[in-house]
């Protein structure tokens, strides 16, 4: 009998707090783990679900567009470009790159709330590729739509996405007209966005064709950076759906409000199918907990979660609260069972080791630094803003491996290489260096002068699954004690370092040992898990 959606009643400590944080934010700092452990599960959920903070200021111009045919010279450096309709190809490419750097910056500077994790969830769910969309203003507008609805109402978000300019480009909605309907969006809203392709998904090819006709007539206005409805391109006949949708007929409408009315009908019809809530809950489950959904989990976790979703008219917060505070979520088998996505690994690594960037407004320094992280993520197969295709990343849908598809003989060496770079030399741009400072990290621990506590704390903080006492003893001896056997050897070195950092030889020894230890732990397979 597995644990169910019943609220978790067990003890609340550092390990449960860390598990919750690792799954809900990208990398938990030592301070956040301490704060979460101190305040109890209910207050933690309150904080994670609080999206009242203002939206971040938009990306700014940090590029030089002078080589473009139509450079955006009226936008000053440091000012945002998102409302300027310039759609020169070169400018658009620079802006899309600017957007990606900015996004990585938002991940770096995130607070302990679900906003970033859920924004990425929706990006994976309503996947679009910025390279295909082209227009950077659309790309940002689409992202802002996901971000502002990250913890909101799924129905409302789906409706908005359906006529969002970037989506109208990406899945050809802007070309969908009554004379020759384009089925691209119509298929994906059913197969990928709302109903899914589980055993309970029974929509038909005729439903794809009918929904395509409902969605005819929407177009984009690049100058206004918005979409609009063109009734002359709309199919005004009735659209009849299969028995899966109860034989629903969406009455053909005419005039300027036809598109909105029929879209409202379509959204209502799609979400009235029980499978919609089940599909969305499975997807959330796989995002936050684990990919394998046994029939037992389906019955005792997914089905009641889906009922919560329906009872709350597709508000996402009650669903997340129920899942993240359930006894099921804290079962031992799941602790450390997620293979980290590249973003979880890279951004998480930077945040849990408290790597410092320039201040939030120092865009000229930060954007190039963030650009390096965009490149790392891309090489590890998570190019934020450009998932592989409309189904998002394979790790979240592809049977049978799911998360395991992140890791193969090509991506694994890259992961370790980037971790090594950041854990040792770091990288430098314009004189600003990004690197882990292991000594600053271990200073936050309870007893850094004691090599046993130090290793315990560091292992707990970094690894998804612990290592054996024998393994720790070996690490202590080989790295912290430099082959000696007495603990005081380390204690003396640490205390000397704290008292007299100017003792160059000792300081070098301490920092080298800590760096080696951090690098060693990050090289372990256990570090790839969370």
């Amino acid at each position: 009998m597995i644990a169910t959606l019943t609220p978790y009643q067990g003890s609340w400590d550092q390990s449960t707090a860390r598990h919750l944080l690792k799954r809900t934010v990208f990398g938990a700092t030592k301070e956040q783990v301490d704060a979460f452990a101190a305040k109890g599960i209910s207050a933690c959920l309150d904080q994670l679900l609080d999206d009242s903070a203002p939206q971040p200021s938009p990306p700014v111009k940090e590029y030089n567009s002078s080589a473009a045919a139509s450079p955006d010279t009226l936008i000053a450096a440091g000012q945002t470009w998102v409302n300027d309709p310039n759609n020169d190809g070169t400018v658009a490419a620079l802006r899309r790159a600017s957007f990606k750097k900015w996004w990585v910056g938002r991940l770096i500077f995130q607070e302990a709330t679900l906003r970033e994790k859920m924004t990425l969830f929706w990006h994976n769910h309503f996947a679009t590729e910025s390279a295909d969309v082209g227009n950077a203003q659309y790309v940002y507008k689409h992202h802002q739509l996901l971000r502002s609805h990250a913890l909101g109402n799924i129905k409302a978000l789906t409706r908005s996405v359906s006529v969002d300019p970037a989506m109208l480009v990406y899945l050809n909605g802007q070309n969908n007209n009554r004379t020759a309907p384009d089925e691209n969006y119509s298929r994906e809203i059913q197969e990928l966005f709302v109903i899914g392709k589980g055993p309970g998904a029974g929509f038909t090819e005729a439903d794809v064709k009918a929904a395509a006709r409902v969605l005819t007539g929407w177009r984009n206005n690049a100058t206004k950076i918005e979409s609009f409805f063109d009734s002359t391109r709309h199919d005004t006949t009735n659209k009849e759906f299969s028995s899966f949708y109860g034989g629903k007929i969406i009455a053909g409408r005419t005039g300027p409000t036809a598109g909105d009315q029929e879209l409202d009908n379509l959204i209502t019809m799609l979400f009235s199918v029980e499978e919609a809530s089940l599909f969305l809950c499975r997807k959330l489950y796989r995002w936050f907990l684990y990919y394998e959904i046994t029939s037992e989990v389906e019955a005792s976790v997914i089905a009641p979660l889906a009922k919560i979703m329906r009872d709350n008219n597709f508000e996402v917060k009650p669903v997340l609260r129920a899942l993240l505070s359930s006894s099921h979520f804290y079962e031992t088998t799941y602790i450390g069972a997620q293979i980290k996505s590249p973003a979880d690994m890279l951004i998480g690594m930077l945040r849990e080791t408290d790597v410092q960037f320039a201040s939030a407004d120092a865009y000229a320094i930060n954007y190039p630094l963030w650009n390096q992280l965009v490149a790392y993520l891309t090489n590890m197969q998570q190019n934020l803003g450009d998932p592989p295709d409309v189904s998002g990343w394979k790790a979240f849908y592809q049977e049978p491996g799911f998360y395991e598809y992140w890791i193969n003989t090509d991506t694994l060496p890259k992961r370790i290489q980037y971790l090594d770079i950041l854990a040792t030399t770091g990288y430098t741009m314009n004189g600003f260096k990004v690197a882990v400072n292991g000594v600053n990290l271990v200073r936050k621990f309870s007893r850094p002068e004691n090599p046993n506590f130090l290793i315990d704390d560091l292992v707990n903080h970094l690894l998804g699954i612990g290592i054996t006492p024998a393994h720790k003893t070996q690490l202590k001896r080989d790295i912290l004690l430099a082959g000696q056997s007495e603990d005081y050897y380390w204690t003396n070195a640490w205390e000397t370092y704290v008292a007299t950092p100017s003792n160059a030889a000792n300081t070098k020894h301490v920092t080298t040992a800590i760096t080696s230890l951090v690098k060693y732990l990050m090289n372990l397979p256990e570090y790839q898990l969370m």
């Binding site: 050809n172 969908n176 020759a180 298929r187 069972a337 293979i339 409309v390 849908y397 049978p400 090289n523």
Partner: protein, 524 residues
């Protein structure tokens, strides 16, 4: 089953079986037969290689292999994306079929006898979802069946039992399969783990130390830890092998630049020449989901699809030229596939929506030149629902390559392919078992009356053996199986009462061992 079975069924590439053996399955001679044992080469650099090229997104078959003899219907169905008849590239000995104008390299390969086109490849009850259709192709499952292993993953699991324990070893020191790129494909998924290795740059593997392994807990977390550890181990073990093979090749023929498929095939050629015993290589090239702007307005020979096909064609041509230069041309056969073709009728966005069957290409020095199957039938006034029905099951293509090129024996073939499939003459006679291409089977299948109102009669001729007769609807979906049994040779008749069917286009499909035929019938 073991590797020995595979070797036993192997004939050296390029060696023709004497003609007196025509019609005799090679397996009968496999073990201990003096004549053939002499032909067996030592395991080494003589092994056969299969290169599989995935065209992601659903390639528009009708604008790739163009039905010149049905040009009027073709034009009617897609007057905004059709390729003008005078622009279509011509194929020697096949005046009714041509290639997209961007495919000059593949036209040359075809005319040199190094390419085989298989028309209308698909399967019963086609699926129109990218993801499901891709899974079907990669797993080689039935359309309504979910199989979580890949067809080549199952093959490698049979050939190299127990992998990854005790691998690499002296018999197989190299990766079982190599996928170029950073992703892991379902195609190579074995029953317990992926059977292949992914690489994007064979010259630079980042080295790292494999640390001590503590026992993995018996939990989901332990399961994932074990997976990650296994990937560590394989990366380290095979990394050096690949670097070494890669560094042995110092000179290659030029490949087109700015063409990621060419970049991938260039690596494949290096690694084969570099001495890897790896038999399977996977590469992929995306962007074929051409719902919009498939062609340029005003010049349909330009646009997204032209660029894609041009790159595919020039990459494959450069690869073939390089294989010849590297003197490994006889060892390599390649095939393309895409998860589906596109709709017969184009849409209003200068594009085409998801469809059903489509042609694929098998290429290499050892392929049987020519075309299997006929140009697809296109209705006079195609509607948005009309699809190209399949003539060949894609699993027949897989099975034929496995048995006739990689020399997988019948027992293993059944295990890998999950059931029996039609054997097609895609590779030259005598590479393993013996098959000869058949002449024009035009009169093998005669449905009448046509058009029909209620009952349609089907007269058919079978050469004996397994005989299958199916009724498909206009979208290519299976409606009814009329005959599915082993028969004696002869001419027979069956009938079908289609009174309940909606009026429209239907297809009658005959499959008799290597022979197949599709006839269009109209229900009124």
């Amino acid at each position: 089953m073991d590797r020995r079975r595979f070797i036993n069924n192997y004939l050296p590439a390029g060696l023709m079986v004497p003609s007196f053996m025509s019609g005799v399955g090679f397996r009968a001679y496999a073990s201990g037969h003096q004549l053939l044992d002499n032909y067996l080469l030592p395991a080494g650099d003589n092994d056969r290689v299969l290169v599989v090229i995935q065209l992601n997104g659903g390639n528009d078959g009708l604008n790739t292999v163009i039905p010149i003899d049905k040009f009027g219907q073709y034009y009617n169905a897609r007057n905004n994306v059709y390729i003008a008849q005078e622009k279509v590239l011509r194929l020697d000995r096949h005046p009714n079929t041509g290639l997209h104008p961007a495919m000059t390299g593949m036209q040359q390969l075809f005319n040199e006898g190094k390419m085989h086109i298989v028309q209308s490849v698909g399967y019963p009850r086609p699926n129109f979802s990218h993801f499901r259709a891709t899974d079907i192709w990669m797993s080689a499952s039935e359309s309504n069946q979910v199989v979580n292993t890949g067809w080549l993953g199952r093959l490698l699991d049979e050939l190299y039992p127990g992998f990854p324990s005790n691998y690499p070893n002296t018999t197989m020191p190299d990766p079982l399969a190599i996928q170029i790129g950073s992703v892991t494909s379902l195609t190579l998924q074995g029953p317990a783990q992926p059977m292949g290795m992914s690489i994007s740059n064979p010259s630079s593997f980042y080295s790292f130390v494999n640390n001590q392994s503590d026992p993995a807990p018996n939990s989901y977390a332990g399961k994932e830890l074990t997976f990650v550890r296994e990937t560590y181990r394989q990366t380290q073990r095979y990394g050096d092998v690949i670097k070494t093979a890669n560094s042995k090749v110092t000179s290659q023929m030029p490949y087109p630049t700015g063409n990621t498929l060419a970049d991938q095939l260039k690596i494949v050629a290096r690694l084969i020449k570099g001495g890897l015993k790896t038999k399977i290589y996977l590469v992929s090239y995306g962007g074929f989901d051409t719902h919009a702007n498939q062609v340029n307005t005003g010049d349909t020979t330009g646009g997204i699809h032209a660029r894609l096909l041009g790159n595919v064609s020039s990459a494959i041509k450069a690869f073939q030229d390089d294989l010849r230069f590297l003197e490994i041309e006889k060892r390599v056969v390649g095939m393309t596939y895409s998860e589906f073709g596109r709709r017969i009728k184009s849409n209003g966005s200068n594009g085409t929506d998801h469809g059903a069957a489509a042609p694929l290409f098998v290429f290499g020095d050892s392929v049987q030149p020519g075309i299997s199957g006929n140009n697809p039938d296109i209705p006079l006034n195609a509607t948005v629902s009309d699809n190209v029905p399949y003539q060949y099951d894609f699993r027949s293509v897989y099975a034929s390559i496995l048995s006739n090129w990689l020399c997988v024996d019948a027992g293993m073939l059944n295990t890998v392919m999950l059931k029996q499939f039609q054997n097609l003459p895609l590779t030259k006679t005598g590479t393993c078992s013996v098959l000869s291409p058949v002449g024009d089977p035009d009169q093998l299948l005669v449905p009448y009356p046509n058009p029909f109102f209620s009952t349609i009669k089907v007269q058919f001729k079978t050469a004996g053996g397994h005989t299958l007769i199916q009724v498909l609807d206009g979208a290519g979906r299976l409606v009814k199986i009329l005959i599915d049994q082993v028969m004696d040779p002869g001419t027979f008749e069956t009938q079908y009462n289609g009174q309940h069917l909606p009026a429209g286009v239907y297809y009658i499909r005959l499959q008799n061992e290597i022979i197949q035929q599709v006839k269009t019938v109209i229900k009124v």
